[in-house]
């Protein structure tokens, strides 16, 4: 078997569609001053924090529940357990046109689960 030194493979295009416009998103439920909050954090794979953007929150059926501004890579909003019963799909789109998402399932909504 021919296995020499690993070579850098030069592709003419992206290795996969998932590689384009990648921003990493994470969301969790935390206790805030006014009750339970969903805290959204976004960061590029390079480590850079997106300055501005928009956070779109959808329910399990794909209905848009709300949009919030993303500032300095973060956003937070109150958790409405009734509308979030089936989980939340949280999509971040940065002002320089990168997009990422995080899926918060019902199990994720229970701290300590």
């Amino acid at each position: 078997m021919i296995r020499g030194t690993l070579a850098l493979i030069v592709a003419l295009a992206l290795a996969g569609p998932a590689m384009a416009h990648r921003v990493n998103v994470f969301a969790s439920v935390q206790d805030g001053k006014a009750g339970e909050e969903v805290v959204v954090e976004a960061k590029f794979s390079t480590g850079r924090i997106p300055a501005l953007g928009e956070v779109r929150v959808e329910d399990a059926g794909g209905a848009v529940l709300a949009t919030y501004p993303l500032e300095d890579g973060a956003a937070r909003f109150p958790l409405d357990r009734e509308s979030a019963a089936g989980g939340l799909s949280i999509t971040v789109r940065t002002d320089d046109d990168h997009e990422g998402y995080w899926l918060l399932t019902p199990a994720d909504l229970d701290p300590g689960s």
């Binding site: 030069v10 295009a13 996969g16 590689m19 990648r22 799909s89 320089d96 019902p106």
Partner: protein, 290 residues
């Protein structure tokens, strides 16, 4: 061994309601290996719906809920399935079979573009289809076997792993026999074959054509330019092209071989037969160049 994989989308309920432990795999090769290793002791499901590429699939919340409920979640790793970093997966019940292969992964030089305040930048990554080097696939199978032995104690893992490794080794030898000496320059319709080329003696330059769609005049011109640059006389297709396309490519003097990437289940046969057919196509195409 060929059994129909159950698409996760067809789940009627959470994994805990099943009689047998449930193993969910993020890609077909991992599902095939899991089936071989677990036998009848577990039910193996493919997370990705039929016809969807694991690299671009975005699951819904219900999909993630079902995946989280599995007894074992099997990931290829190497960045294949983007969704696996977009939701919380239970660490204790998740195995990434590519873990340990870090030194073997092939970097991809990806596109550089400019937009927004970020300016010019590029998206880098690694090649994802590790299983097309059967030596790497064997190591992934060994990692998976250890995880299944823990998650499904009733599974006859040791014997199954020995049989699977023997099958992979036999096929690996047929791949080794394809090329002796200097790597053969080859063009590929898609960037899928980095590991296959590295393992079996092909110096592959990838295009990015849409599967099953005839390339346009611009793409043909690009192909001719790449032929000149690389000296390639062979083109790898991921799926069988339209007849008129095959004729047009042949007219350029290129031999052609259909080599399934196997990220998704083949229409007929299984992982082993799909790989074997790909090797046979490459062998015939190489012979036509002599």
């Amino acid at each position: 061994m060929k059994r129909a994989l159950v698409a996760l989308a067809l789940l009627a309920g959470p994994a805990v309601a099943q009689d047998r432990p449930v193993i969910v795999a993020d890609s077909y090769p991992m599902a095939y290996f899991a089936e071989r290793l677990a036998g009848d002791a577990a039910e193996v499901r493919l997370a990705v719906p039929a016809g969807r590429d694991p690299s671009s699939w975005r699951p819904g919340l219900a999909d993630i809920v079902a995946i989280q409920a599995a007894d074992l979640i099997v990931l290829n790793g190497a960045g294949l399935s983007d969704w696996t970093s977009r939701a919380a997966l239970p660490r204790a019940r998740t195995v990434e079979t590519g873990r340990g292969l870090e030194d073997e992964l092939i970097a991809t030089d990806t596109i550089t573009h400019s937009h927004g305040e970020e300016g010019s930048h590029s998206h880098e990554g690694v090649a994802t289809h590790t299983w097309l080097d059967l030596a790497l696939a064997a190591r992934q199978a060994e990692t998976l076997a250890a995880a299944i032995a823990r998650a499904v104690p009733d599974a006859p893992v040791d014997a199954a792993l020995a049989a699977l490794l023997a099958d992979l080794a036999t096929l690996d030898e047929t791949g080794d026999a394809l090329v002796t000496g200097t790597p053969v320059p080859v063009l590929a319709s898609h960037p899928r074959y980095e590991y296959l080329g590295h393992a079996y003696g092909f110096d592959i330059a990838a295009l990015d054509w849409t599967a099953g769609v005839a390339p346009d005049a611009g793409q043909i011109a690009e192909l001719e330019a790449r032929m000149m640059d690389t000296g390639a006389r062979l083109l790898i297709w991921e799926v069988d092209p339209p007849a008129e396309t095959r004729e047009a490519i042949a007219a350029l003097g290129l031999a052609q071989a259909v080599v399934p990437s196997l990220a998704m289940p083949p229409v007929t046969g299984d992982f082993l037969s799909g790989f074997r057919e790909g090797v046979a196509e490459l062998d015939a195409a190489l012979a036509s160049l002599d």
